[in-house]
């Protein structure tokens, strides 16, 4: 028994391949779109994973530190270390800003981490792809490779220059901005210090105030000015639990006794994925649905046109007494073969196109498998119309024309 579908495909191979290629590119776009959505979710998860924290302690009644601004005193960390269940606590600051390097600037999330020999402390990037970790307490930076910086580059953040000593990969904020890690004290300064003009104007304002600049009290003005330039707040404290400690229980006791807001990993994920990227995710989901519908329609059209092209041959087949089942299975097999080629081309093109996107595109194997299944189902359904038409054709057309 020869395969009727195989013979037909082999007969019009070039046409078939080009159709499959076109379909494949369309499927590739659909897969990339799914990858964009997965990438957005993964950005949020990567942020949580890479921070290495079990609990996030933030300013009371805020959704900080990622979704809302939060500010807590930097000595709250020590009180937290004494709480039962807490193994480690580390101050951290986050500030999304433009980081300048040479003539251009890059949008990045500047993360302030506690320097020192704290290997794998919360907030630190777990792995580097080049260079080394921070060793000095000031003016060094580790940057994500997505920033385009290289080891040895000099960055400018506010008024200080930082030397890039290490590179990371996939260290991103929830919105996909690459991270730049700098020592905490510098980050606090970058976040809370006013610019020089503002400081000078503020000093002048204080000097003009007779309450602070009395002739009989030398030194008062200097003291008042000095008291203004201190920054001792951080955005959050990252807490790592002792093995076996219950996250919810520890969070509850911190909430109760320290009167700070605490989020567990699950709650943080809910904030990031459920709140922060919810609208964008819906937007992408909408696109995905539209693309899937368009792909299905196009597959249906293609199969229909392919069948129409050989309507005369089908009529001949019917004339020589071919069974309807054989004809139907031929069309179905062709549709499925088209789907397989399309999927293969789509998967390959999506994989090669993914790294070219400015934001992270994550192609998950389960998405690909689901996509493959969907393509086959769509192809099978699309072939139904063509099969119906083929079965209704009059064998007389073969001779009549």
């Amino acid at each position: 028994m020869i395969s009727l579908a195989g013979r037909d495909i082999a007969h019009a191979w070039g046409k078939f391949v080009f159709t499959g290629l076109g379909l494949g590119l369309l499927l590739g776009v659909t897969l990339v779109m799914a990858g964009v959505y997965r990438g957005m979710v993964d950005d949020g998860k990567a942020l949580l994973d890479n921070s290495g924290a079990d609990l996030w302690v933030v300013q009371r009644d805020t959704l900080g530190p990622y979704a809302e601004p939060s500010s807590i005193p930097d000595d709250a960390e020590r009180a937290l270390r004494a709480m039962p269940g807490v193994a480690e606590a580390a101050n951290v600051t986050y500030l999304t800003m433009q980081v300048r390097q040479g003539g251009h600037d890059v949008r990045a999330m500047v993360v302030g981490i506690v320097p020192g020999e704290a290997w794998g402390a919360p907030g630190w990037p777990p792995a580097l792809i080049a260079g080394r970790r921070l060793t000095r307490g000031h003016y060094e930076a580790m940057a994500d490779i997505a920033t385009g910086f290289e080891v040895g580059d000099t960055l400018r953040i506010r008024r200080n220059d930082y030397t890039v000593v290490g590179l990371t990969r996939r260290m991103v904020s929830s919105s996909g901005d690459p991270m730049v890690f700098i020592p905490l004290k510098d980050a606090q300064e970058a976040q809370f210090l006013k610019d020089n003009d503002a400081i000078v104007q503020d000093r002048n304002r204080t000097a003009a105030n007779p309450a602070f600049n009395r002739p009989g009290v030398p030194g008062l003005l200097e003291s008042v000015t000095a008291s203004k330039s201190s920054s001792s707040a951080v955005n959050a404290v990252l807490v790592r639990l002792r093995p076996g400690a219950d996250a919810d229980e520890t969070a509850e006791s911190i909430r109760r006794w320290k009167r700070l807001t605490v989020y567990t990993r699950a709650e943080m994920e809910e904030i990031l994925i459920g709140k922060l990227i919810a609208t964008s995710a819906k937007q992408i989901g909408m696109f995905l649905v539209i693309l899937a519908v368009v792909s299905a329609a196009i597959v249906a059209f293609i199969i229909y046109t392919l069948t129409m092209d050989k309507i005369r041959e089908i009529a001949v087949l019917k004339l020589i007494g071919t069974r309807n089942r054989t004809i139907a299975s031929m069309i179905l097999q062709q549709a499925l073969a088209l789907g397989v080629i399309g999927f293969a081309v789509g998967k390959i093109s999506a994989t090669f196109a993914a790294p070219l996107f400015p934001k992270y595109v994550l192609l998950m194997p389960q998405d690909s498998l689901a996509g493959f299944g969907a393509v086959l189902v769509i192809c099978a359904l699309a072939s139904v119309i063509a099969i119906r038409m083929a079965l209704r054709v009059d064998p007389a057309e073969a001779i009549g024309g």
Binding site: P115, G116, A127, L128, A130, R136, V151, I348
Partner: protein
Amino acid sequence: MNRMRISRRTLSILAVVIPLVAMLGYVALRSGPLAPVAVTVVKVEADALRPALFGIGTVEARQLHRIGPTAPGRLLRLRVEVGDAVKAGQVLGEMDPVDSDDRLRSQQALLQRTAAVLSDATARHAYAQTQARRYEQLFAEQATSDELLAARRQDLQLASAALAAAREDQARAQSDLQALRAQRAALRLVSPVDGIVTARDVEPGTTVVAGQAVVEVVDPRTLWVNTRFDQVSAGGLAADLPARVTLRSRRGQALEARVSRTEPRADAVTEELLAKVAFRSVPQPLPPIGELAEVTVDLPALPEGPVIPNAAVQRQGSRIGVWTANGDRAAFLPVKLGRSDLDGQVQVLDGLKPGDAIVLHSEETLSVRSRIHVVDRIAGVAP
């Protein structure tokens, strides 16, 4: 012929299908979670680590002389400008003496007067003495009465007392004059050291309170850097260690210095240790007081031992260690670490020996389940 056509068609089909299948296989295995993680590998080296401490500080003067009047008054003149070099003992300015000079002249007149009074008392005393002696002789020859002799003796005592009073008056007037002169001298603002004027806070004509500074003088040889070291990484900080100072305005120029002393009090608010780092020689041009400086303090070299880059140090749960490449699998090896230096090298106390190969950089965080694939350089990193 027929065979030929079929084979050509088969070839054209194979030409499309084989690459497609091959690429699909490649894509499925080389991307996504099935793909191996690219890592770079480095050998543990034997080296004598030279740990160093890094801190920042501001240039300050050990001795800052804030010169001002000891009593309230008005500034009359100021002869120096900011930046002028001054010598010890040089008069920098003067307060308005107001009535000091007049009081001085009055005191001088008083002194003259006491001199006149003294000479008057001296004359009287000499006369009284002569008289007393004469009456003593006369009385011895029975030529005068006892009463008259007693009167002369009393005159002499009175004259002696008056002379003593006049002498003390003169001494007092002399001391008063000296006190006035000293007060007058204190109105001059004098530099106590050889140095440089760093501030001129008040202009002539201004009234200043007692103790308020008019000019500020520092000795440039006493410039040092008040340095702050983060407490977490300040172990080993001690006096007399060699240091290098880089001024913010002169990047790339390291000035030789040494730790002059470590402060017994740390900063409790900023959690930093304080130390004073003095320059070995006075930097020229003089760094402005208050300029930010980066200070690197070199600690004594450690004994030679295995060292690894700090990027290789990883953590699994609460264990610290490194990953080693075992075929296409990664294995975690707990190690005990010692001190580290500022170039990112860490001393290994236990767990590794020189020559061992360990994973340095990895594309992703490794776990015991990761498949790895050793490369020279991770994709995307500039050579």
